[in-house]
């Protein structure tokens, strides 16, 4: 299924997040990621939703129904080729420090904390694929705990 990213701006009023998530539930999607943050303008929030859908018309329906909410100011779909999708992951890993350093060249990460000889808390930022690639390279079996922000996106 195709991954879709929908970017919406809306008034920061109580219940808006609830409405958006209820609509997505009503349309029977399972949200992949949903991030909310404040925008440049006070009182207006920015929401990025990713979900899986192949059918263009269904995506347009979701967009139009989001636009219908009185609080929603604008909604559009962001396409992969003309926008940046980024996320951050914080990972607690059981891995030897020297081994970790061998990934430096290919992946952009920062060590936040070293708990013991081979327990590190690191931060890795980038596209979803970049983060997945890093985790695969290090070996997912070494993950003790992971926190990912979900995608935030911006048009080029």
């Amino acid at each position: 299924m195709k991954r879709r990213t929908i970017l919406a701006f809306m008034l920061d009023r109580p219940g808006v997040l609830n409405k958006v998530s209820m609509l997505i539930r009503k349309k029977m999607y399972n949200v992949d990621t949903l991030t909310v943050c404040s925008s440049r303008i006070e009182g207006i929030s920015r929401m990025t939703i990713t979900l899986q859908e192949d059918d263009e018309r269904k995506v347009n329906q979701v967009i139009k129904q989001l636009e219908k909410f009185t609080e929603v100011i604008s909604v559009k779909e962001l396409h992969a080729d003309n926008s940046y999708w980024r996320e951050v992951a914080i990972v607690k890993l059981e891995v030897d420090g020297n081994h970790l350093e061998t990934f430096r060249g290919n992946y952009n990460f920062e060590i936040l904390d070293q708990k013991s000889e081979d327990i590190h808390i690191i931060q890795v930022a980038g596209s979803t694929r970049h983060i997945d690639g890093f985790l695969d390279a290090v070996g997912r079996e070494y993950i003790i705990e992971i926190a990912r922000t979900g995608a935030s996106a911006m048009e080029k």
């Binding site: 636009e67 219908k68 929603v72």
Partner: protein, 587 residues
């Protein structure tokens, strides 16, 4: 000034004359204030659901009058608000502006499962256009005005304002200052495009001029925009027949030569066959719901679609459009009528075909109407409606309930007055008629109002006879008593081999019920008594209750089975023995 005075002030400024509802602990301050200020008249329903439908009736009936009103209903928290919910959901499905005010427990105890606390905003959010919960007295007035604005702007709908009890009593802060006349809600994304754009309009007119087998679709939006006359002029100018959705009925006189009557599941043969054959659908203010289209992939296969609709999210939802016009129906019709590009075309072959379709069921129907009784010997609903139509010359206001009688009222009353048909359509809520008729009568006191009910639906809200009695509401109640949940029985006859599970129903003595509420009553069992009884009901001042003993075997045809296509349309009555055979088991 405090929360409650500002609520009443806002109601007054919005021109609210009636508030329908029921009191209780969490809403008492506002009731007390309404009583003290005496600017709005409170009408007590006997159940909050009744109040929501009364508010709907007032909204629906007033949209064609010079003074368009938003119906207002009010309840206490918890169970009171929950009882409103069905009427709110119904208003949302039918795009009816309503403002509902609900009491809420005090802010200090919200979310502690306080006595009579329900999460009203949470429950109502998916079944209404907008919800509010002002958390301080300073926000009350702007919230109330925004609620009215949202309810009527663009596609109408219900709005719920949940008011914590302490906010009702709270004083506004020092220096509070609000000017309602200068107020405009800050909703930058809540846009509404009433004016059609030039380019799609031109493409639409090009398609219209070119079309050989076009149809005009008249939906609820035409009634809401008060555009019946414009639609009629448009159809006459281009010479295109009109098919109506359930809610489009009464926008144009039903016997207009271009009228094909209702479309969809229980629509006429001529409307539905024409849709199958059409090369262009010009649809105004409708949403192509499943009762209208049947199986989508078989729907109007050869037709281009022009979709004029105020709500952009309805465009392309169910049916692919060739030209989308997101605009007000009245403005779009005016723009096209003013354009010299639009031309008349005789379309003789198309009309010949339609005349053929009109004949398909004509003889059967005429025979039924002439006889007036069904296979079981009881009265036919269609012939009662037909007689009512003749007697009132199609000019009265009709408020049906939900079921077979509703479809009979849709099909066999000859609507002459614009906006004279008020039905629960999108939700199909049994019990809507009696309370809705009360609201309709209050909005249009000079016109005669008929509440046409089935024995099932009537009993869902018959407590509202109390309001009829108390307020001396002059409505004519016609009860079509067939001893069954008839519409469901019809499906059982057609699709469940005549097994009547859960549809036979024992009813009380309606004569005694009417008497208990001091409403004149009569019972009609013979065809010859229908007309005189209706005449007496018309002549009687005040409310009247007439019960008709109807035939349970009557079916409303044609019928397109749920999920079926137009090719599956049933036009022949099931053989009498198929329904009669099971009668031993039925009661």
């Amino acid at each position: 000034m405090n929360g409650k005075t500002l609520v009443v002030k806002a109601l007054q400024e919005q021109g609210v004359k009636y508030v329908f509802g029921y009191t209780g602990g969490a809403i008492m301050p506002i009731f007390d204030e309404m009583d003290r200020q005496d600017s709005v008249q409170f009408i007590m329903s006997r159940h909050e659901q009744g109040a929501a439908f009364m508010a709907q009736g007032l909204s629906r009936a007033s949209r064609s009058t010079g003074e368009r009103k938003v119906g207002v209903c009010i309840s206490t928290s918890g169970p009171g608000a929950m009882n409103l919910a069905t009427g709110i959901a119904d208003a949302y499905m039918d795009s009816v502006p309503v403002v509902a005010i609900t009491g809420q427990v005090a802010t200090g105890v919200i979310a502690t499962d306080a006595f009579q606390e329900s999460d009203v905003v949470g429950v109502m959010m998916p079944i209404c256009k907008q919800t509010y919960m002002p958390l301080g007295a300073d926000d009350v007035e702007s919230t109330m005005h925004e609620a009215f604005y949202v309810a009527v702007t663009g596609r109408g709908g219900p709005v719920v304002v949940d008011l914590p009890k302490d906010v009702q009593n709270e004083e506004v802060s020092n220096g509070y200052n609000f000017d309602s006349s200068a107020f405009h809600p800050n909703l930058p994304g809540f846009l509404y495009h009433p004016t059609p754009e030039r380019e799609p309009l031109q493409r639409a007119m090009y398609l219209i001029n070119r079309s050989e087998r076009p149809l005009v679709f008249c939906g609820h939006g035409v009634i809401n925009a008060n555009a019946g006359k414009l639609l009629q002029q448009f159809a006459e100018k281009v010479n295109i027949p009109i098919a109506f959705t359930l809610h489009g009925l009464s926008a144009v006189p039903a016997d207009h030569p271009l009228s094909l009557g209702m479309m969809g599941m229980h629509g006429t043969v001529e409307a539905n066959r024409a849709i199958m054959e059409a090369d262009l659908l010009i649809s105004f203010g409708m949403r192509f719901d499943d009762r209208v289209t049947g199986k989508l992939n078989e729907y109007a296969r050869d037709a281009d679609v022009i979709h004029v609709e105020i709500d952009p999210s309805e465009i392309e939802k169910n049916v692919a459009t060739t030209v989308a016009i997101n605009a007000d129906v009245a403005q779009t019709l005016r723009a096209m009528l003013d354009d010299p590009m639009l031309t008349y075309k005789p379309r003789r072959r198309w009309f010949e075909k339609i005349e053929e379709y009109r004949e398909v069921m004509k003889a059967d129907l005429e025979a039924e109407l002439a006889k007036g009784t069904g296979d079981g010997g009881g009265l036919l609903m269609k012939s009662i409606v037909h007689q009512l139509s003749k007697l009132t010359e199609g000019k009265d206001l009709i408020v049906p309930d939900v079921g077979q009688h509703q479809m009979m009222a849709a099909r066999f009353y000859n609507y002459q007055t614009e906006n004279s048909w008020f039905a629960s359509g999108g939700a199909g809520t049994m019990g809507a008629s009696l309370p809705m008729a009360i609201g309709v009568k209050l909005a249009r006191p000079g016109e005669r109002v008929w509440s046409i009910c089935g024995d099932g639906g009537f009993q869902m809200n018959m407590q509202e006879l109390g309001t009829v009695m108390e307020q001396q509401i002059d409505i004519k109640i016609l009860l079509f008593n067939n001893g069954y949940l008839g519409m469901v029985r019809q499906w059982q006859t057609l699709f469940y081999d005549g097994r009547y599970a859960g549809t036979p129903m024992q009813s009380p003595d309606f004569g005694l019920i009417a008497q208990a509420y001091d409403i004149p009553y009569e019972k009609v069992e013979n065809v010859k008594d229908i007309q005189p009884a209706l005449q007496r009901a018309m002549d009687q001042k005040g409310a009247v209750f007439v019960e008709f003993v109807c035939d349970p075997t009557e079916v409303i045809l044609p019928m397109i089975p749920a999920g079926g296509g137009f090719d599956d349309m049933i036009i022949k009555r099931p053989s009498p023995d198929k329904t009669a055979k099971k009668s031993g088991k039925e009661k």
